[in-house]
Each structure stands twice: as structure tokens, then as C-alpha cells.
């Protein structure tokens, strides 16, 4: 009898120890999540809510959310990755920005977790950019956002202008606004990527999507005719006064572009579809006046005017190989991509990269963005995400120099090609 009680006591102790151990281990699970969802980011509430829902369902897991402003985030993530201090969960823009870390063995493959159901949840075009070597490493979460030409409907009406369908018509619109003392395009190009949008669209409209693909695969070159012609047209627009004076000194992050639109000083704005939520937040009383059109066609060019430049997924969330609790991290990704998340993103003004969201969208502008994206023959991802980092920077710098008339189109294209030759080791 005594033996039994000692045994049972011992068993109880073992049990309680094991139990206490598991409880303690469960208590200790903390996942760090890095992304750009600062207070100013429109998708922040949706992500915060997904965190809340996940934590409610998994009381033992705690998510430490560390948001960082966009440009600083890239530096912070790279530095952390190189110091082997990667957070458990992090965010990229897919494609080259993700591939870089996959190649360095920093990203955990989501392939084993990709059930049929989960995979079918995503728009295929969006999913593509999260795939490296036919394995999924990142899931698209936030937004389908093409760059579009936003414009003030009332200003177009006031000056009797129609939405331009061709480049020639665009030139006419630019001239009319210029004559009436209105800056045709609001643009702040200190940040370099806003100006790059014009270049990417012009290259597409002149040479079609092949121009870039060929330059990257090295069948073509970055100083082929479409790139030079795109630079020439940018400078033509600059000389016509299509952009604000000193455009390379204005800061997009400080809204120095949109302020011109809100004060009737500018009429058009080539920007990602996220601009629409900016209008809603910053100028709620004039948001009805904003509409958009596709970048005009160039008659002599090869590009289809339905083609878009932008991103089909915007932000991709991944799990790092450093994460100790990968199961929980992957589970959290499910919360970030479920239908509740989709609804919240729509409510905020985003188009989630999930299937079957079209009929849930009520806002006419957003519906139009969704349809425009669906109709696009081709969506070209931003050059600075497509190209390797070394070339992306040369692209951004030379394009900024084009806007400043500090380089001729030939010089800019040759500089880009020289950098490509060096990078690809030719």
C-alpha cells in the first residue's frame, strides 16, 4: 500500500512536472512579426485584427508586431537578415525582393503546408510572385495595386477635356492644363520610384512587355530602342512643363505631390491604386472628383493599353528559417489570408489578392480597379522589385536624372546596359 502511494505520488509529480512544463512552454511562444504596417498604412487595422483573432484562438501564442516605415523597413530587414537576426515572420514585395532571401536560405518553404484549399484561395497572378523555384515561400496579403493615371474629373470638365486614350491626346491635355496655369502631373520624385512609373509604362507602351523580359534574359539590351524612346518622351514631357518645378526635390512620403492635387494646382497623378485610400483619408470632401484611366496607348508602339504596371499582391508574408515555432507562424499566415481578412481589406479600400472578391466590392472606383486588373493582358511588376538590387538602383538613379534633364536618354540607357553587362558578367 505504501509502495502504491509512493508510486502514485511520484507519478503525480511527473505528471504535474510534464504538465507544468508544457504549460510553461506554451506560455513562452512569442512570434515576432515585422512589416510596414505603421499607423499611417491603410492596411494596418486589418492586420492588427488578424493578430487579435489569432491570439484569441491561440491564447498561448503572442505576436509581437514591429511595424517600420517603408523605406527604412527594407534597410532594417536586410540588416537583420545579414546579422542572422531575422524575425519569425516578415514581409517582402515578392519576386526578387523575396528571392534574395530564399537564395541565402533565410526563408522557410511553405510548400508542405500548401493544401489545395489554401492555394486556391489566392489569385494565380498574385501567387506567382511568392513562388521561387516552384515552391511557395511567401503568401500575398494586402493589395492588388496597379499604377493608374488618377485625375480630377472636375478640372477635366472645366477645361473641356476628355480622358486621353493615346499619347498624342495626352500631350494635348498637358498643353491645355499648362496654358491654364495648372501643373498637368503631380509628381514628387526625390524618392525616385514615383518617376520610375512613367518610364515603366512608356517602355511597355513602346516595346511591349517583351522589351524588359528580353533585356533581363540578355537576348535584348537595356539600351534597345524602347528604353531610349521612353527616356526621350519623359524629357519631352519635362520640357513641356508636365511636372512640377524641381520635381526631384519633392518628397512623396511627405505628400508633396498630392497636396498639389488637393489645392487645384495639379490635375493628374500617376500612382499605385493605394492613392485612392490616400484621397479618402486626406481629402474626404473631394474624393468624388477623383477617377482614373489607363496609361494612354502609343500608336506606333507595341504595348497593349490594357497592360498594367504594378503589383498583383503588394506585400508577401513569409516565415523565416530561424523561427522556432514554424507551425504557429504558418497558422498565423492562415489568419492573414482568410475570408474575414479579405472583407476587412475591402472595407479599408484594398483589393485583396484572394479569389472571388469581385462581387464583395461595392465602391465603384474599387470595382473599376478590380475589373481593370482582371482585364489586363499583362501585369508588369515594378522594375525595382523585378530587377536585381544592383540594377534596380541604377534604373532608379538614371530615371531620376532623366527627369532632371541631367542625362540624355542615350546616356541613361547606356549606363543601365553597362551595369547589366557587369552584373551578368558579360
Amino acid at each position: 500500500m505504501k509502495n502504491v502511494s509512493i508510486l502514485s505520488l511520484a507519478l503525480l509529480m511527473v505528471f504535474s512536472l510534464v504538465f507544468a512544463g508544457t504549460v510553461m512552454a506554451q506560455d513562452e511562444v512569442t512570434l515576432t512579426l515585422w512589416d510596414i504596417r505603421t499607423a499611417a498604412d491603410q492596411a494596418t487595422p486589418a492586420v492588427k485584427d488578424a493578430i487579435k483573432r489569432f491570439e484569441a484562438d491561440n491564447p498561448n501564442v503572442n505576436i509581437e508586431h514591429v511595424p517600420t516605415q517603408n523605406d527604412n523597413y527594407k534597410t532594417k530587414l536586410r540588416t537583420a537578415m545579414s546579422a542572422d537576426n531575422a524575425p519569425d515572420l516578415f514581409m517582402t514585395w515578392g519576386s526578387a525582393s523575396l528571392e534574395r532571401y530564399v537564395d541565402a536560405g533565410k526563408v522557410y518553404s511553405l510548400q508542405p503546408h500548401m493544401t489545395e484549399d489554401w492555394r486556391n484561395n489566392f489569385m494565380p497572378a498574385a501567387m506567382d510572385l511568392g513562388i521561387v523555384d516552384s515552391e511557395v515561400y511567401g503568401v500575398p496579403v494586402t493589395n492588388v495595386s496597379p499604377a493608374l493615371v488618377w485625375y480630377r474629373e472636375d478640372l477635366f470638365e472645366k477645361h473641356g477635356l476628355e480622358v486621353p486614350a493615346t499619347y498624342e491626346e495626352l500631350v494635348n491635355v498637358v498643353n491645355v492644363f499648362k496654358e491654364n496655369g495648372i501643373t498637368p502631373f503631380a509628381l514628387a520624385n526625390k524618392n525616385k520610384w514615383p518617376g520610375s512609373m512613367y518610364f515603366m509604362y512608356l517602355v511597355d507602351r513602346i516595346g511591349g512587355p517583351d522589351a524588359l523580359q528580353k533585356a533581363i534574359s540578355r537576348e535584348g539590351a537595356f539600351n534597345d530602342q524602347p528604353f531610349i524612346e521612353a527616356g526621350r518622351r519623359i524629357q519631352e514631357l519635362v520640357k513641356m512643363g508636365a511636372f512640377p518645378r524641381g520635381v526631384n526635390g519633392l518628397d512623396e512620403n511627405a505628400s508633396q505631390s498630392r497636396t498639389l492635387l488637393y489645392t487645384d494646382r495639379a490635375a493628374m497623378y500617376l500612382m499605385g491604386s493605394w492613392a485612392y485610400s490616400g484621397f479618402k483619408n486626406e481629402a474626404p470632401d473631394m474624393v468624388d472628383q477623383f477617377n482614373f484611366f489607363n496609361f494612354p496607348e502609343i500608336k506606333s508602339g507595341e504595348g497593349d493599353p490594357s497592360n498594367l504596371v504594378g503589383t498583383p499582391g503588394d506585400n508577401y508574408y513569409s516565415v523565416s528559417t530561424k523561427a522556432e515555432n514554424k507551425e504557429a507562424a504558418v497558422e498565423f499566415l492562415h489568419y492573414l489570408t482568410d475570408s474575414k481578412m479579405g472583407e476587412e481589406l475591402i472595407a479599408i479600400g484594398n483589393i485583396p489578392p484572394f479569389r472571388g472578391v469581385g462581387e464583395k466590392i461595392e465602391d465603384p472606383i474599387m470595382k473599376k480597379i478590380y475589373n481593370t486588373s482582371q482585364k489586363a493582358n499583362h501585369i508588369q511588376l515594378w522594375y525595382d522589385q523585378t530587377l536585381p538590387l544592383e540594377l534596380a538602383q541604377v534604373h532608379l538613379n538614371t530615371t531620376q536624372a532623366l527627369f532632371g534633364l541631367e542625362m540624355t536618354p542615350e546616356e541613361a540607357a547606356n549606363k543601365m546596359e553597362a551595369a547589366a553587362k557587369k552584373y551578368y558578367g558579360e
Binding site: 527594407k74 534597410t75 536586410r78 540588416t79 537578415m81 545579414s82 534574395r100 532571401y101 537564395d103 541565402a104 533565410k106 526625390k190 525616385k192 512640377p244 518645378r245 524641381g246 520635381v247 526631384n248 526635390g249 519633392l250 518628397d251 511627405a254 508633396q256 497636396t259 498639389l260 489645392t263 494646382r265 538590387l389 544592383e390 538602383q393 538613379n397 531620376q400 536624372a401 532632371g404 541631367e406 542625362m407
Partner: protein, 295 residues
């Protein structure tokens, strides 16, 4: 040596107290210098494998026109800062150490720029420089000087001077305080003697204050020289070195090479070059200013 003896040994105690500071400066200040020099021989993106290049980075640096123009900008900044900050700071310091009404009030007011963070100051000036809505162009338009309005940060010819201005504004108070401390250390008798000899205010400034402040001015100049050579914050926030490298400094260039383009090897090369330039310039300057004292 037993424990008690050890605790009574003043060198041991001193070493004990120095240890944290020495460790800190070793890890964060001393070791990174040879480490950067080491990285400068590699091609490295900070994440993947390092590839030995030998002196290739250094050869590239010597042939890199942007590096040379950013170094030229650094020296321009040194010159501007010396010419602007020292005389103005000296003038304000002399003024505020005199027994004038409200000196304390002005002391506080003049010190404010120093209390603001660089990034806040940069944003303040960014909005002042806005070509359409900014204060500067606004005032110029108001007083009928439209022809003087500029796109201050967007025009490559003037962008550098536009970013140099807030740097002056922000750092003058620092040297003003340093000079004020120096002036309060000058014995009163010297001024009384000068007054008895019939010296005017201007004369007592040039023959008493200035010579007595000599070492303070030299030290302030070294601070300005080194500070301007490695300056980064407000240029980064205002123009990021642009447009087209017009306002690039060595430090902003090193930042964009290392962290935007992820070329850590080349970034390290620039940082070592920056270190060497700052070292040489300050050693030479100190050598020359010492010589003068002996004469």
C-alpha cells in the same frame, strides 16, 4: 596580492571603472575600423557568401567620380561651416556674456535649434523649401521678388547649399555655448587692464578675448571639420544626396552603397576612405595650429 590590497590599489580601481567604457568603445568604435578595412577587400551583399576581390574595390573607388564629387562636397561643407558657424557663434557668445537685459532669455532662444532632433529640423526646412507652398518662396512672392524663387531642393545647382543652410542653423548654438564657457573663463583683470590702457570695445575683443579664446576656437574648428567630414543626418532626410548626387556627401554615399544597394564591401571601402580623410585632415590641422602657438 590579497583582496584588500587589491581594493586599495588605485590603479586597479581606476581600471575597474574604466572597464565598461573601454569595452564599449572597443566593440562599437575600435574593432569596427579594422573590420571595415577587412570587408573592403570583398564583394559582399551582407547576407550571402563573401567573395575576395583584393584591391578591386579600392581601384573602383579611385575611379568613381561620384565618390570624388561627394568628397568635394564634404570639403565645401567644412569651408562653409568654418566661415559661417565660428564668427556667428563668437559674435553671439560675446553679446550674450555681456551684461545686457534678457541675456538669459536669448540664450535659451538661441539654443533651441540644438535641442531639436536633426530629422525634425530637416522636415521643418523641407516644408519651408516647398516650391509651391513653402515659406521661403511664399515670402519672396509676397515682397515681389518672384525672380528669386527657386526649387531649392530640386535644382542640382543649389540643392547642396540649400541643405547646408539648416546644418549651419542647427550647429551655431553648440559653438555659441562652447565660446560662452571660454569667455567666462577669461580673467576680469585683463579687461580692466585693457580699459585702463584706453582700449575700445573692439580692441579689447581683438586683443583680449580672441587671443584668450584661441585654444577654444581651435578645438571648435576641429569639431566642425570632423563633424562636417562625416556629416549625414539632415542631408539624408532632405535630399538623400540627390538630385543625381548633387548634394551627396561621403557618408550618404556610403549609406546608399551599403544599405540601399547592399554592396557592403564597397560601402566599407568608402567608410575606410572617409576615416582616413578625416584623420589626415584633423592631424594636419592640429599640427599647424600648434605650430602657431609656439611662434
Amino acid at each position: 596580492m590579497n583582496k584588500k590590497e587589491l581594493m586599495n590599489n588605485k590603479y586597479f580601481i581606476a581600471a575597474l571603472f574604466l572597464l565598461p567604457a573601454v569595452l564599449f568603445s572597443l566593440v562599437y568604435l575600435i574593432i569596427p575600423i579594422p573590420l571595415s578595412a577587412y570587408y573592403s577587400f570583398f564583394k559582399w551583399d551582407g547576407i550571402g557568401a563573401m567573395k575576395f576581390l583584393g584591391l578591386e574595390n579600392w581601384a573602383e573607388l579611385l575611379n568613381d567620380p561620384i565618390f570624388w564629387s561627394s568628397m568635394a562636397n564634404n570639403f565645401k561643407l567644412v569651408a562653409i561651416s568654418l566661415v559661417v558657424q565660428i564668427p556667428i557663434a563668437l559674435f553671439l557668445a560675446v553679446l550674450l556674456t555681456r551684461k545686457i537685459k534678457g541675456a538669459d532669455f536669448f540664450k535659451t532662444i538661441y539654443f533651441v535649434p540644438m535641442l531639436l532632433s536633426s530629422i525634425a529640423v530637416a522636415f521643418l526646412w523641407r516644408y519651408m523649401y516647398d516650391p509651391t507652398f513653402g515659406l521661403i518662396n511664399g515670402v519672396l512672392n509676397l515682397v515681389g521678388l518672384e525672380q528669386l524663387t527657386r526649387s531649392w531642393l530640386g535644382n542640382p545647382d543649389i540643392a547642396f547649399y540649400s541643405v547646408a543652410a539648416p546644418i549651419q542653423w542647427r550647429f551655431i548654438p553648440l559653438y555659441m555655448i562652447i565660446f560662452m564657457a571660454g569667455i567666462s573663463n577669461i580673467p576680469e583683470q585683463l579687461y580692466e587692464a585693457a580699459e585702463i590702457d584706453g582700449a575700445s570695445n573692439l580692441q579689447s575683443f581683438f586683443f583680449v578675448t580672441l587671443p584668450m579664446l584661441r585654444s577654444t576656437v581651435v578645438n571648435a574648428s576641429v569639431l566642425i571639420i570632423v563633424g562636417s567630414l562625416k556629416y549625414f543626418a539632415m542631408i539624408f532626410a532632405l535630399t538623400g544626396g540627390g538630385p543625381n548626387h548633387a548634394s551627396e556627401l561621403m557618408a550618404t554615399y556610403l549609406y546608399s552603397k551599403s544599405f540601399t544597394e547592399m554592396n557592403m564591401g564597397y560601402g566599407s571601402t568608402i567608410s575606410v576612405a572617409l576615416f582616413l580623410v578625416a584623420l589626415i585632415v584633423s592631424v594636419v590641422f592640429l599640427r599647424f595650429s600648434k605650430k602657431d602657438v609656439r611662434n
